[in-house]
Structures are given as structure tokens and as C-alpha cells.
Amino acid sequence: MLEMIQKIQIYMEYPFVKNALIVGVLIALCSSLLGVTLVLKRFSFIGDGLSHVAFGALAIATVLKVANQTILIMPITIVAAIFLLKGGQNVKIKGDAAIAMLSVSAMAFGYFILNVFSAGANIAGDVCTTLFGSTSILSLLPSDVIICIVTSVVVVIFFMVFYNRIFAVTFDENFMKATGSNTELYNCVIAVITAVIIVLAMNLVGSLLISALLIFPALSAMRLFKSFKAVTIASAIISVLGTIVGIFTSILFNTPVGSTIVMVYLGIFVVCSILVAVLHK
């Protein structure tokens, strides 16, 4: 144990480890705040769909050799988020079918153009990094860290300022509509914020595992607590702690960062479930 702590202390000397921790904690916090709303609104799968769109956008950015890829990925994913939201209201293509369609199309498109047009020799590396995060969280540029900090602050402020509206639109959209509130606007803003978080989270766990960041902390918190407030706070704590434990575990035991974080989340969920089952006996 002592040796492990010393090893962590030594690794913490490296700026890229500090950056990974800062970005990881911020992404975990933002995703957990919004995750509760998404799970309650039955939008859990939207994260998965948008992450695949983000993969397609990243493929385009890679082919075009865009220096700061986030600048291109972010707007494309936001547009897709709005499209999915509107698509969900389209009677011709039901919500889940629209997500599935966009998801697989974007994934196929991304892999297709990476193979056909990519100038880089290491396509496997690009795909592996994008899908599973790989070492991307450990190789962040200072600009990535700044973008993440600014965006996270915006997301947290948004959540705090519009907490009441988010609560209302989550639980009783019809009532909110009846009171004259523009529910479509709030749904749209939630979708946009979700898209922003997904783009940020691609660095942490990769596009295939992003859904875990959104749903696991919320589900674990829902096992323990019943009120929206308590679930939101517990979700944030679980998410941040899970990410910190996951990052340190992966550094110490040389395991992939993204999947380690998700395994930690899964472990927390199992522990919460067992805890609740035992307490309710």
C-alpha cells in the first residue's frame, strides 16, 4: 500500500497525469449531473448515438487534418443532438430507430472515410483511440485542458441556474408546457449540453464507453436515494470518485483508462445494489 502511494506521488509529478485527473474529474462531474435527467427521461441511449456521431465527426477532422479537432466535432455532434431530438417526435421514424440509424450510419461513415482518405499510416491507432480512449486522456494538449475546464464550468453553471426547469422538464413536461414554458427549448438545450459532454468525454473513455459515464452514476445513486436532489448529488460524488479511482487504478496496474473507469462504475453499481438488497431485507 505504501509503495502504491509512493508510486502515485511520483507519477503525479508528471503534468500529463495531473491534466488527466483534472479533465477526468470535470467530465465525470458534468456527465453525472446530466446523466440523471437523461436516465429519467429515458434518453440513456442518446449518449451512445451521439458518441458514434462524434466518432464520424472525428474521422472527418482526422482526414481534413484539422489541428484542434474539437472545434469541428462539437458543432457536428450538437447538430446531430438537435436532429435526434426532433427525430424522436417524428412519427415516421420513431425516436429509438432514429438514434440507431444515425448511430450506425455515423460509425460506418467514420470508419469508411478513415480507411479511404486517411493520410496517416496508423488507422488502427486512430480507431482504437477514438473508440476506447486508449491513451488519449494521458496525451492531452494544454488547449484540450482549457477547453474542458471552460466547457465544464459552463455546464455546471447552466445546471445550477436552470435546475428548477430541468427538474420540471424531467418529471412533468406536460405540466410545464401547460404553464406556458417553452419545453422544446429546454429539451433542446439539454440535448446540446449532452452533445458537448459527449465530445469532451471521448478523451476520457472513448466513444463506445461514453454511455457508462452518463448512466452508471445515475443508476447507482437511484439505488440509494429517491429524491431528485439526493440522486443528483450522490451521482456527482459517485461519478467523480469512480473516475479518480479508475484513473489511479489504470496508472498503477497498467490497465486501459476508459474501461477501468467503467469497471469501477460497474463495481459501485453492484455494491449499491447489494447494499440496498441487504438493507431492505
Binding site: 505504501l2 509503495e3 502511494i5 509512493q6 508510486k7 502515485i8 506521488q9 511520483i10 507519477y11 503525479m12 509529478e13 508528471y14 503534468p15 500529463f16 495531473k18 485527473l21 474529474v25 462531474l29 449531473l33 496508423n122 488502427a124 491507432g125 480507431v127 482504437c128 483511440t129 476506447f132 486508449s134 491513451t135 494521458l138 496525451s139 494538449l141 455546471v156 445550477m160 441556474v161 435546475y163 428548477n164 427538474f167 420540471a168 418529471f171 412533468d172 405540466f175 429524491s227 431528485f228 436532489k229 443528483t232 448529488i233 456527482a236 460524488i237 467523480v240 470518485l241 479518480i244 489504470s250 496508472i251 496496474f253 497498467n254 490497465t255 486501459p256 483508462v257
Partner: protein, 191 residues
């Protein structure tokens, strides 16, 4: 509407900020300051890390470097050895990536890397040696060129052979005008 709808948003914001603050303080105290007594590597303690015992512990943990002079979290100062060979693959890959992003921080320092040997020939027919470092999954690859020490010039290595390279970090001009990092006077150890 549920009474939770009237919930005070300021309170929620304060709670979230407090949680972040608490976590930050815990991390700072346990990691940066060090809560382990005796052999703690706290900032205060770092000033006095000179004993053989402490140095051995650093080597054992995977990295031997000049912590005393490394407060800015950059590469260690001159005459120090940066040993990445005992790190995990992902950490070594990330460290080499940093080395390529900020090469000036590593100038004239001795770097130890563990990777696979590869040789290559440039457009002028000159042979080059590389230590290729991959991530744990094997998908991300970084190659670091090395120029062997005179004593090893006649030694032959097979491609993909696992090696440990120790050499002085330098930057040379590439063929196409870019800069290439290179480990000069490299000593090769077979794994």
C-alpha cells in the same frame, strides 16, 4: 408541482462546490503533500531527498529522477536519468508523447526507454535505429531514434526484438525540415 420543484438552486450549487473542494483537498493532502510518515515524498521532504535509501525507492517505483530540482513538473535537470523502462506501457507511451511535444525540456538528459528494436533506411540510404514504444493495446505507436555508442556499433539486433535503450536526449534536423528526437551514445540492453 412537487415541492422539490421549489428547491433552492444556490444550495445545490454550494453543495456541489463543497464536494469538489473536499475531494480536491483530500487529493492534495494524500497525493501532493503526502500523509505517509517517515518516507513521505511531500514537497517539504523533496528538498531533502538525497539518501541512497530514498533514491532506491524511487528506482523501485519506476522512475529515478531529480525531484529536488523538478518543482515545475518538467523534465528533470541536467545530469539526471529519466528512466521510463520500469513504467507500464501506457505510461511510458504517454511520457514519450510528452517528450516529443516538449523536447526542449529533455535536452542533454539521459533517457532510458523500453521498447522494440526496428531499423530503417532513409532516402539517402543511411541506416537508422529505432526503439518503438507502443501502448498497452498495441494500437498507439511512437518511435524514438537512437545512435548507438561506439562499443555497440558492431552489434546486430533483430527487428521487433525487445530492448532497453539508454542514451542522451538530443534533437536533430529531419530530412523534410522537421525536428527529430534522438538518443545519442545509446547503450542497449537486451530484455
Amino acid at each position: 408541482m412537487d415541492k422539490n420543484y421549489k428547491y433552492n438552486k444556490v444550495e445545490l450549487g454550494v453543495i456541489i462546490c463543497a464536494v469538489i473542494l473536499i475531494i480536491a483537498i483530500i487529493i492534495y493532502n494524500t497525493i501532493f503533500k503526502g500523509t505517509v510518515s517517515g518516507n513521505s515524498l511531500s514537497k517539504k521532504g523533496k528538498k531533502n531527498i538525497t539518501s541512497k535509501y530514498q533514491t532506491e525507492k524511487l528506482i523501485k517505483a519506476g522512475i529515478k529522477k531529480d525531484i529536488k530540482k523538478n518543482k515545475e513538473n518538467k523534465a528533470p535537470k541536467n545530469d539526471s536519468i529519466i528512466d521510463y523502462s520500469k513504467m507500464g506501457k501506457d505510461m511510458e507511451y504517454a511520457s514519450v508523447y510528452q517528450m516529443e511535444m516538449t523536447p526542449n525540456d529533455y535536452m542533454n538528459k539521459t533517457v532510458v526507454l523500453k521498447g522494440n528494436y526496428y531499423s530503417g533506411v532513409d532516402s539517402q540510404g543511411k541506416s537508422h535505429n529505432y526503439c518503438v514504444i507502443t501502448c498497452q493495446g498495441g494500437c498507439c505507436v511512437q518511435g524514438v531514434e537512437f545512435i548507438m555508442d561506439e562499443r555497440f556499433k558492431d552489434d546486430k539486433f533483430k527487428d521487433n526484438q525487445e530492448i532497453i535503450v539508454e542514451g542522451k536526449f538530443e534533437i536533430r534536423d529531419g530530412e523534410k525540415g522537421g525536428k527529430i528526437i534522438v538518443l545519442r551514445d545509446a547503450i542497449i540492453k537486451l530484455k
